[in-house]
Symmetry: D2
Subunit: 166 residues, 4 copies
């Protein structure tokens, strides 16, 4: 059976708390035996979540913005450069069973929007882009707001149970 | 000199008021001599805005979700099928000098998010995905809320002036 | 009715003869009232064909490899940056009624391959990537070898007639 | 350290010999401890190579043409739907350390062309699209023709040694 994939999205730059959250969520994903999917760059939420998952022995996949494989984050197992820029955002979404969104800017909110559009449940970790945006996303949106990584991972597990993945 | 391009985004399905707005904004874009860029499908805001521009003698360009050219809207001058699905959203954004967003769901909000991320000014026509989302988009976001097509087109003109396009 | 689009593909760098051919084919496309579609960069076959079409008063469309609009060729009317790199090759192919391929390297041959795969007739202008490659392309391939721009444009016209475009 | 990835390309439909080759090459990739990357569909060379690798206990990654995850081949570990159609070909190429090309049509030759363009060594297994095409691919092309899977895998190993991957 295919592996269960949890996507982690978030800003290229991030404050200390967000980086801490990203690293924790990466660790928890790995400890649950799930695969981490992200944009795979060496910065911000991407690097932090990969570091967390890698240190916990998890499998990590990165779909890069860039053509150059060398720009992949430390700790990535599967490096997929695309050279496609923001067009690759849809892959991070479609490839995930559930998406965790940490604090970010337009790149991150575009991924949340696509997740809602394509029916991927979204857990928002300490990041609230507002109900008007979230409700606009789709007729039957699935999203939850979490304050801590521990709370977020419980919500992820809940969605995965609904999906019959665990 | 290259043509000035105004992108029009919005839902595949839309209520009467939104369709009326889309058609009007298409007409006004054409009357100002600007080129209309959109997702180019035969439904909703895409078809309505193209119809409006086409009837007013404007040039219309559609970057389709689909591989099949026959799915292009009536009145499209330049039909570019992509077969790329939602990955083509970024082209609608990067190709536009200014983006007008009508009511839509996740596809539309993903395009607004990308526009803010890549510095394309956004005019929101009778559609408010909320300040939290809009402010998250970028450090220096440029967006305005319009209630009517006439108001929206004035805001578009204002942004084009700032950009030195008119 | 939508505009008839002829795609021109070819190398980013090119020798004098190839550049001359590209400029001529651009001019002939414009004189026939067709729209020129290309990768739209400022170099090689792309710039030369756009210059030829632009000087003859034709409409030119460029789907750029890059995110940055400023990299569009001189004489482009419709500039569509994608930031998608080589992934945008498929758009040049799917958007064309007929493809003209001038001398090029792997980018150009990938576009010829896609054209054969997706049923777009290909005219090879002074460029022969070999029958083994061309025949492998599809079960029912449509391609012709031309030695001069004048010969190429006649072949383009022939394919457009078959397609009911002229 | 990131995993070593060998891409396997080839036709959606294939004759018995080609399917046998694909399955064998998949098995050999897995037995060498490398990861298999492919287009990931349930047909032809894609399914056969994934079956071979999966049965030998290897890790398999598929970057799908389609939006729908359910179209992923049996035996895929990491399923990445893209909904991008042929635009995703570049990911199969850029993600591979070395590419093995089995018999195919235009989709496959487009991937070979991109591999040559982006400097990924190509091993052609019982498939010869001709020297004219291969030499056109780039100024410094790296490709080899193999008659059997065993011969192909030796060539793959040779390229991986050159690249410092083994």
């Amino acid at each position: 059976m295919r592996k269960t994939i949890v996507g982690v999205m978030g800003g290229c730059t991030a404050d200390e708390r967000t980086l801490h959250h990203a690293r924790e969520i990466g660790r928890l994903i790995a400890e649950n035996g799930w695969t981490l999917l992200s944009g795979g760059r060496q910065t911000g939420v991407m690097q932090a979540s990969i570091t967390g998952a890698h240190e916990a022995g998890g499998l990590t996949v990165g779909v890069l913005y860039d053509e150059d494989r060398e720009l992949g984050a430390d700790g990535l197992d599967i490096v997929l450069p695309t050279g496609m820029g923001a067009a690759r955002n849809i892959i991070n979404v479609l490839g995930s069973d559930v998406v965790v969104a940490c604090r970010g800017t337009g790149g991150t909110t575009s991924e949340i929007a696509l997740a809602l559009r394509f029916g991927r449940p979204v857990v928002l970790l300490d990041f609230d882009p507002g109900q008007a945006f979230l409700e606009a996303g789709a007729s039957e949106v699935k999203y939850s707001l979490a304050e801590t990584p521990a709370e977020a991972i419980q919500m992820v597990a809940g969605y995965l149970k609904e999906l019959g993945r665990i």
